[in-house]
Amino acid sequence: MPKNKPKPVKGRDYDSMTGADAVAFGMRQINPDVVAAFPITPQTEIMERFSQFYADGIVDTEMILVESEHSAMSAVVGAAAAGARAMTATAANGLALMWEIVYIAASTRLPIVMNVVNRALSGPINIHCDHSDSMGCRDSGWIQIYSENGQEAYENTIFAVKFAEHPKVRLPVMVCQDGFITSHSVEPINFIHDDKVKQFIGKPKPEFSLLDVDNPITLGPLDLFDYYFEHKRQQIEGMENARKAFLDVAKEFEKTCGRRLQYFEEYSSKDADYVLVVMSSTAGTAKEVVDRLRKQGKKVGLIKPRLFRPFPYEEITKALEGKKAVAVMDRSASFGAQGGPLFLEISSAMLNSAKKPKLCNYIFGLGGRDTSMQDIEKVFEDLMNGKPKALNYLGVRG
């Protein structure tokens, strides 16, 4: 169990905890007005921890212990429309059950923050990590941020509150961490002090509220062929605005909380000839491989995207231009497509580049299949041998 109140040590504190605990700890510091919760493995620990903060009266939050994830998302949509800062968390099938309202949350421009603990979608049923759940709703209009470890999941969650509520954005944010690998692994977490979090996120300033009975609004009207398209266009603009807003909010985050957030992390990649692109916990494994290969004099590097929606295509293109070969690793499949979702983003980002590297795709880790350092070494070897196929599967039989 995390300690309820961190001791301020020059504005910072450390503790050992799981990724799930770290997020719950961040939620305590955020102190949202409303949290809706429904259990699903491997997300449950987040809500268990947060429920304890609620039970002990440490947060001002009102909790709604709903009867399904569909109702969890419906309730936070209602709460956010009433001007409250609202949060929830889910995984896999829970996210799939929410799907309809996930879209409505985004198109109603409600700045909800939801932690997604990535888990493989059924069927067959599986409780372990892959990204099929959040990748499935990459076109739902939500901002998506992926976390390499508990530390990032914690920081991303706090960052997401301010980012979602940015006046030019006003969109919900999904903060993703890898199920079990991150959510249930104990790591040292470097906290931001409560006061700094409070100062950074500020008070919610909703643009409208259903509780403003003197200025009644109609929200969620029937929008037909004469206006729907314009509203979608505005929503697209909101997502486009999120690119710049991310940098602005990141600057503020660094200033107030001393933590740096970037679109993506470049790890020994600037002078590398062979680059791996991979998100979330596998990036941690890949960093170790990069270090080892570098010691052997191999010019290898890693790019770890943190922001997936909106996708920083211009910046990624610049970072990958001129490389000899790039392997994009996807922890989910896109059935019938040319590759996984991250590969598709990167190949279309590089479509018009004159200095396009050789690109290939590796699908890995579906349903929690372990990805070892040897697996990643093999990817680099393929790249350096110049013989990777366009689409490859890592660590699968047959």
Binding site: V34, E62, I64, A75, G78, A79, L210, V213, P221
Partner: protein, 313 residues
């Protein structure tokens, strides 16, 4: 109880000029229900006729805050709004007293929204949920729902050579709701406005969840002339098809109007085209079956009311 004149003077929360059909029972139900409180209200609508016809962008017939989220989640959505209100009130960020009400049709309540409603009732949110029951999916073009009565022809339970309309009795939603032991659950009908008002007042004054199932005839789906809505609704009560009753805490049953000399069910059936086929000689047994079901249901309700101490002498 205010006079009808005073009620007429109350400010409207839903204006005219919306696009519901002439003779639609839904806006009558809404206007009657919303007269049950003079406090500000926040309205949530489930997807359905009432929702689509009152809020075609950029127009809105609602003069109070209104939210439509989706079809099956009006109760969950209102849970979120009501919880936000409690949270903000606790923190001193909301001051006014506000009432919360959801309107859903029978499709959005008996069927697709039942889970969301059940969850919200169990959690005990302080709101009023109103089901305007027009006994089929009218918004999509008259498809059968679990609220469609036995024998009724709909576009998905048409009267054919083999199957004579819907072959199941209507779901007993009030019992399902009352089984949650919520403080207040009632059944009302737009033809009995004074009864609706009393129930609405009681529902809004209830601390915790209150539920009203109000019969709101649909001239398009029930197939009757649009100027007969109230007459059709009235006949539903007078034939004992639609008992006016209330159940408090799932325990105390009260029949609000004892129909001592009921009209035969044929009096109600014959007003509506959806039951036309039942009057063919080969379907006589179906009418008998419907009448028997009504008689037995009435007796069951009366017995439950007697157990609660109601006297029918």
């Amino acid at each position: 109880m205010p006079s009808l004149k005073d009620l007429a003077k109350m400010p409207e929360r839903i204006t005219g000029g919306h696009r519901l059909c002439p003779g639609c029972g839904a806006p009558i139900a809404v206007r009657q229900i919303l007269r049950g409180t003079d406090k500000p209200v926040v309205v949530v609508c489930a997807t359905g006729c009432l929702e689509v016809a009152t809020t075609i962008y950029p127009h809105s017939a609602w003069k109070c805050p209104y939210f439509h989220n989706a079809f099956e989640n009006a109760a969950a959505t209102l849970s979120g709004i009501e919880t936000a209100y409690n949270s903000l009130k606790k923190q001193g960020r909301a001051k006014k007293e506000i009432k919360f009400v959801a309107f859903g049709g029978d499709g959005g309540t008996y069927d697709i929204g039942l889970q969301s409603l059940s969850g919200a009732l169990e959690r005990g949110h302080d709101f009023v949920y109103v089901c305007y029951d027009n006994e089929a999916y009218m918004n999509t073009g008259i498809q059968r729902s679990s609220a469609t009565p036995y024998g009724a022809a709909t576009t998905t339970s048409p009267a054919g050579k083999v199957h004579p309309g819907k072959e199941q009795f209507k779901k007993n939603l009030l019992d399902v709701v009352a089984a949650h032991e919520i403080p207040y659950a009632a059944q009302a009908c737009i033809s009995d406005w004074a009864d609706v008002l009393k129930k609405s007042q009681k529902a809004f004054e209830t601390k915790g969840p209150a539920f009203i199932n109000i019969l709101a005839p649909c001239q398009r789906g029930w197939r009757y002339p649009h100027n007969k809505t109230i007459a059709v609704a009235k006949a539903a009560v007078e034939t004992r098809f639609w008992p006016l009753l209330e159940i408090e805490y799932g325990r105390k049953w009260t029949l609000n109007r004892d129909i001592k000399t009921p009209k035969p069910i044929t009096e109600w059936l014959k007003m509506q085209g959806r039951f036309k086929h039942l009057f063919k000689p080969e379907n006589e047994h179906l009418v008998k079956k419907i009448q028997e079901h009504i008689d037995s249901e009435w007796e069951r309700i009366k017995n439950l009311c007697r157990c609660s101490g109601q006297n029918f002498d």
